[in-house]
Symmetry: C2
Subunit: 325 residues, 2 copies
């Protein structure tokens, strides 16, 4: 293991002060070597306090440590040495696309503690405060046609909702196509970006933003009515690394199953979690707004709507708004 | 105008030796300033010979000069200061994608005199020898769904075939989906790469490789049976810049027309130039090979095939091989 990763895990597990002497003994290096690694870690952005009498302390114990995450994912889809765990970045989707462009294999991860310009669908921003959420993107290279790419995205939303419900007890729901709601507000969003030729996928980048330990007051005012976090909904803080690993393991399992047996079972769960069939809604797309009743979520992940004149329309993406009655 | 561009045009128009004194007078700069620009141009890869008595001479007079091309395209789709004219690059498609990722507008061009790793469809290479062809990519941001992207590609193949026929007298044909043939051999290829979210296009990069003044002996042996050039087919050399401008002007006109009135007229011409309806062919895609008779080229640019059992199949891309009978 990288000595700096080991140092981080030692400090994280200590959950308080740890003396330089102890660290030096456990890591089998001199105290000045420990100090040099601490300096490097601080340069990388880790907030490590030091005191001549008490030693060192990690100011942010809910840390996502690369080797800890990768150990748990060893041997599977996400066991990739190309993966990046960053303190800070502009956008994990952008980083993952760059990695994909330079040949990074399926399963390559980019995880960041904060994003300057986190991306949502249609060039919207995703609020990504340091250390309080999961900001994650991964590269896939599925052997499916571009028209089927929506299925991968819905698979990601199922995994996120399931892992969230299981670990936190929340009733996470899916708002078509790919928002995750808790208590009726947005707790996670997914952005898929796809690079294709005409009928084949070069690569897909799936990005996930999940609000975990964000207190209400930390959200910008304009988001407080529509956004929420695990902390707000449950009143408790949760380990970001635990949630991250649970989501990735669930996705890995469903993605493998989909490759073997197709997307039917994921699609079934996605429909159950979406709870939109028969509802009266409006769909807003880039070009228009259409009112109607949801007929079904079809086998491609499209929303099928019957409008007021009885015409049936099909949408692969857009924003839905529930009508009041 | 950039003084180095002006110098290049002076040398190009001279079509032989031009004295330093004359250049200095025409460009209203000292002879030592002329010399400094010549040194810079050589560093950029231009092959400029010098002689103490005769002056300067451009060893490659069939040069594509940025300002000359852009002047002819002023005020239109391709009038973009972000455009790049390069002596050499790995791949113009890759360059154009990088420009698009950083916000380059629709119409941004990348033109190179040679490519190290020119790309064809399905990760194939495109043979791109220095100064003998057109290696071009451009950025588009059409407000259409990803499913319609094939229409833009077919529009490019129509423009290439039409400009080629008009300027050189060749009978250029289209081999579905996007190869241009002359004398039954491949003279140009088009590679579209598309970056999308689920139902919107972020950007599209259309790449064109066109063999112009390539002598048969310059092709790698394995290509000689299937590839050709304008020089091989007509026995004459043609100006690369003239062809480049003609193709771009034709595309600009058709793209504008398609935005106003739809793709019908381009599609009609594409069908005529394709000449595949009713023919017995095989289609090879990434996953399979299907034999059948071509029923139509549909309004999305897809090839519709009836196989031996009477089943109708639809393909947006692939390689077609004519059956011998």
């Amino acid at each position: 293991m990288d000595p700096r990763d080991e140092l981080l895990i030692q400090l994280k597990n200590a959950a308080g002060w740890k003396s330089g002497e102890e660290l030096s003994r456990q890591m089998a290096m001199t105290r000045s070597a420990v100090w040099k690694h601490i300096v490097k870690l601080r340069e990388e952005g880790y907030n490590i306090e030091s005191s001549p009498r008490k030693g060192y302390r990690l100011a942010d114990p809910d840390l996502i440590v690369a080797s800890d995450v990768l150990k748990d994912l060893a041997g599977g889809l996400f066991d990739r040495p190309q993966s990046r765990f960053l303190r800070q970045t502009a956008s994990t989707n952008l980083d993952a696309r760059h990695l994909a462009e330079t040949g990074a294999p399926e399963g390559t991860l980019v995880v960041a503690d904060s994003q300057d310009s986190g991306k949502g669908r249609r060039a919207r921003k995703w609020f990504s405060p340091p250390g309080l959420g999961i900001y994650l993107s991964f590269v896939l290279r599925p052997a499916i046609s571009p028209a089927e790419a929506a299925k991968i995205t819905l698979l990601t939303s199922v995994s996120t909702a399931e892992a969230l419900s299981e670990l936190t007890g929340l009733q996470a729901r899916i708002k078509w196509p790919n928002d995750i709601l808790a208590g009726g507000k947005k707790i996670a969003g997914i952005l898929a970006e796809i690079s294709t030729e005409l009928d084949s996928i070069n690569y897909m980048v799936v990005g996930l933003g999940l609000n975990i330990n964000v207190p209400l007051g930390a959200f910008p005012e304009e988001l407080r009515g529509t956004a929420t976090s695990v902390l707000i909904e449950t009143g408790r803080e949760f380990s970001r690394a635990q949630l991250l690993k649970a989501i990735l393991r669930d996705f890995e399992r469903r993605y493998g199953a989909a490759r073997r047996d197709g997307f039917q079972s994921a699609l079934k769960r996605w429909r159950e979690l979406s709870d939109v069939i028969g509802k009266n809604i409006r769909v807003e797309t880039a070009g228009e707004t259409v009112k109607g009743t949801v007929v079904e979520l079809d086998r491609d992940g499209a929303l099928v709507l019957r409008d007021s004149r009885g015409a049936v329309r099909r949408f692969l993406s857009g924003d839905i708004i529930r009508e009041s009655r």
